[in-house]
Symmetry: C2
Subunit: 175 residues, 2 copies
Amino acid sequence: MDIATFVDRSLGEWSSQRSAHHLAFAHFEEVRSTINIEALTVDAPGVLELCQRYEVAPETIVSPFKMSWEGESDWDEDQTIEGSTILVPVPESATTGKLLREQGYAETMESAGSYCLTEDGTFILTTAYERAAAEEKIWFATPNLRFRVSLIKTSSGKGVTTASFSSEVRRISIS
Amino acid sequence: MDIATFVDRSLGEWSSQRSAHHLAFAHFEEVRSTINIEALTVDAPGVLELCQRYEVAPETIVSPFKMSWEGESDWDEDQTIEGSTILVPVPESATTGKLLREQGYAETMESAGSYCLTEDGTFILTTAYERAAAEEKIWFATPNLRFRVSLIKTSSGKGVTTASFSSEVRRISIS
């Protein structure tokens, strides 16, 4: 599978159940959210800005998309978690590349991670931040069900502070 | 990685946080448990019985082990979940084989699943039951932290009814 196929299979609206395990305290957090993934054109405003900021030629990018989410955590039920961000894949080979991510208006930082797609169709993204590193694995169980395991690591990459697991079920439009 | 190495790395006592996602109802379940994994000898009583029942020559098995667990679910906090079972790997190649499992005294059925070990060190076990199928992926993030994703599928293998994720942290003996 290449990145264009992976993004294509991801487009749509998803109902997500996410469990986070805060390992040091053996604490659980539960989040329910709706995730929307939409294709963008290469010349969409946010896409071109990201290309410029990372000095990437727009003709080298593939399948830019926008991801937005809205949900609730059991840690703070009064507060709605919401945000959106633009993501831009920059392939380096058929199965590897960079993924640029816009700074969303929620908690996310701007970042450029490295992705690879394994033989069994798992998308693996690793992103280094100043004080931490993140690893994300996403794979499809069926066309309408995908899973995501996200690890927040110490910046050395050796320890894991939080592990979370999401089940994402496609919302089928019945109209 | 071969199965003997995988079992060897798994031996010990683990603190487990497990989140189950019951997908049809978007329901969460949280389980905290302690898991103990101990090596057994090839001629241990339960091991030889399993070999006989599945007509497997004892000289073809590798690294039999016993797994026991004790925990609590937030679905029924008054009840302790506990059980133990014997597991017997029967390699068919360096990275594939069968895994025989004794009927534990808790909920588990006797079964023979098929395993494979992927290049990145993930152990994948698939087991077909009469009315369902199970798929389990286990991998190590560090020598003292392993993750497990378990799917309960419909017997056709197409639908997933429950997805669960465990973070297992090794309990370090300080004595």
